[in-house]
Amino acid sequence: MDNGMESILDTYLFETNSLLDQLDEMLMRDEKIGDFSPDDVNEIFRIMHTIKGSSAMMEFGSLSSIAHHIEDLFFYIRDKGIDTLDSQHKKELFNLMFRSEDCLRGQVEKVESGEPLDTDLDSFAAEINSFLKKISGAGEEKAAASEPAQEKAGEPTETVPAGTSVSPESLPDDKSAVCFLHVFLDEGIGMENLRAFMIVNSLKECELEFRYYPENMESNPDTCASIIEDGFYMAFESTDMAAKASDLLRTQGHIRSYELLEVAEEKQEEAPHTETAEAHTDSEGQAPSDQAKAAPKPPAPAKQASAPAKQNLISVNLMKLDSLQNLVGEIVITESMVTSSPELNQLSRDAYDSFMKSARQLRKLTDDLQDITMSLRMVPISGVFQKMSRIVRDMKQKLGKDVRLTLIGEDTEVDKTIVDSIQDPIMHMVRNAMDHGIEDTSQERISAGKNAQGEIILSASHTSSEVVISIADDGKGMNPDKLLAKAKEKGILTKPESEYSKKEALGLVMLPGFSTNKTVTEFSGRGVGMDVVKKNVESVGGVVSLSSEEGHGTTFTMKIPLTLAIVDGMKVTVGSSTFTIPIANIRQSFKILPEEIICDENGSEMVEKMGSYYPIVRLHRFYGIETEVLNLEAGILLWVETSDRSFCLFVDELIGEQQVVVKPLPAFLDYFELKNFGISGCTILGDGNISIILDIQSLHAAALENI
């Protein structure tokens, strides 16, 4: 039971969040052109209706009521046409919608984290209502028209009390009926014919006998229009039955109103005599079979109908994808274990050939499988970018700066875990660019010879092994001297001021506790910004760099490996241990002669390469591994580099290149913080042995910086 609830909640959250995303996207797009398209008005109405319904089902009252009010608002707008609003109203509407979206999101987040929902959202609802009143303006009767709509979530209103006679012309031609129930459905629910049929069915299940008009509504979608316009009729042969039915109708959803109509006297007189028998066979024979056939169906088509344009997508728990990927990794490894097993040499030549033939086939399949598994986890980065346009929009208004955001390469695909971990860094950098980067006034910009409108360019692109994301603004840029002065004031300089290069000075921005803005604003300037950004990006194996020209703007560039799970590695041995070094970090490997080694006063070794000197790290010494290869000329040197750090690693032997599946070290070992000592994970080799994966960045930090 619990489990069931949980999965319903998951589905609810997923659905609501994606609807809100959709809403956000639509609002951003529409705001750009400053107008709502009629399609979008319908779409917003539909989204709100869905959120209202599902939230009510989950008993999240506040969510449901806000959605309900917005739905009312859009019901009115849809009814009157968006063009009746003047541009001032439209602007207000956009602001209101963005705020409602935030409000809804806030509530959904509370649901996610299991907190209780806000109960006092009445003021916000009142705001929506007052806006509705405002746009409905003087037309009192218009406002009145929307009133019944507001009631529709509650009990259906019985507009005409029982016993009212109406002109027979409007009623369906049913001679045996003594009275009719005339039912109107909620507006805009879609698939009215099926909904009507569902109502009919549920009444029949309560052992009521009646006929309904239009008769073919379950199979003929064209009846939709007439049901929307004129409602539908249920014909009863006794008033008792009709009364019962009208009671039951109260329990049904999507009904706006219904009325009980009695047929004029003379008809009532003749009906019972002539057609009772027929009516019986009608409802007993035909209806149940119809019912059996149709009963399971309606929910399904109804659901499809609510999202006709939806792509054929399913949502999968990320955990499942992770374990799928792990399994596929295992298969790849096991496969090479099988095909390289020494027992194969005992096969006869023919048998070996045919074995290898099938093995190659298997290889191809596992390769394909691996590719597909990898691609499953890839999602376009556009979701993150979209959120940025929202942030820029909000900040634009609050800061009063005129800035446009240009997005490039939104459809670049990135591993899901990476997308999650770079969202906050990107957000931070965009905020920084808005707050500190772009000049405060357009006057400033014009006098600097720039376009009055500031620009922030957010771009993403692929290289062979990396995703490059850059955030560029054309604002003030940074002044290295100012940065240095600031850093000095904060006491975070590690060497004399004059020794800092421009690049190093800019790099100060990413140190903890550095914030150049004197005043803390709502958006940035707490000094916990860039260092957190750097840490986040590094946690997914990426690097952040920045370049800045004073007066011309600042560019932050993040380079992040495409995927975390598979690495092209070089296997090396030290003593009895095997290490894997990411190929991307290796510049060169070379043998060395004793006379090339240069030592400093502590005996630390260095080697000259292409005009620069690089320190040598003896892996066996650093890790305390016993090995017979102690002379530098006996082993081999690997020249490795990462971002701006470059050094040489001394190892016993190179074994070869291999793609490896990265596995984290057991949680038990977290205590020892091996990550800070150059060990980022491990991998299982083809023979089942484990190789340790080195992280050049932290190895450099541990071996060379903290002495």
């Binding site: 490894i333 591994i625 984290p664 949680a667 205590y671 091996l674 000592f677 089942g688 042995n689």
Partner: protein, 158 residues
């Protein structure tokens, strides 16, 4: 399945009023001690697994093993208790444990059997020690003394 058997035997056992105090335990030898650990923590027992050494580790962490794709740390409980441990014999016996979803293997000399131990009979060890890895002792009917491993201490490195 094991639970099923457990229940059956418990109902047959005379003199146990409080069912919950009896625990099914795996006994094993390590050095000259006989130790036991509740079977609810034991995943499996493996032999002859090659252990990959990790650098910069305290000696009692022998390294990591690859158990069907899962990477597990291996703890030598002799070293963990501060004793000398002989070089690993060719027939290393590793008990794979899951303690509060921390998985690890411990190296033992040999595995004995599974027995039921009434927790009411377990006494604390009346000695002050620095390396507290054992947290109880129990005397069996034949007079031998079994000691219990403190799972909490085992699963948190120090």
């Amino acid at each position: 399945m094991s639970e099923h058997i457990n229940e059956q035997e418990l109902t047959e056992m005379p003199g146990t009023e409080e069912v919950s105090t009896v625990e099914r335990c795996l006994t094993f030898e390590s050095g000259d001690l006989i130790l036991y650990i509740s079977t609810k923590h034991v995943i499996e027992i493996i032999n002859n697994h090659s252990i990959t050494k990790l650098p910069l580790m305290p000696p009692y962490i022998r390294g990591i093993i690859n158990l069907r794709g899962q990477i597990l740390p291996v703890v030598d409980i002799q070293l963990r208790m501060g004793k000398e441990s002989p070089e690993l014999a060719s027939k290393t016996c590793i008990i794979v444990l899951d303690i509060n979803s921390v998985s690890l293997g411990i190296i033992v000399d040999s595995v004995r059997q599974v027995i039921d131990i009434d927790l009411k009979n377990v006494r604390p060890i009346p000695l002050k020690r620095q390396q507290k890895l054992l947290d109880g002792m129990v005397t069996m009917e034949d007079g031998s003394v079994f000691m219990s491993i403190d799972c909490q201490a085992l699963s948190s490195p120090q």
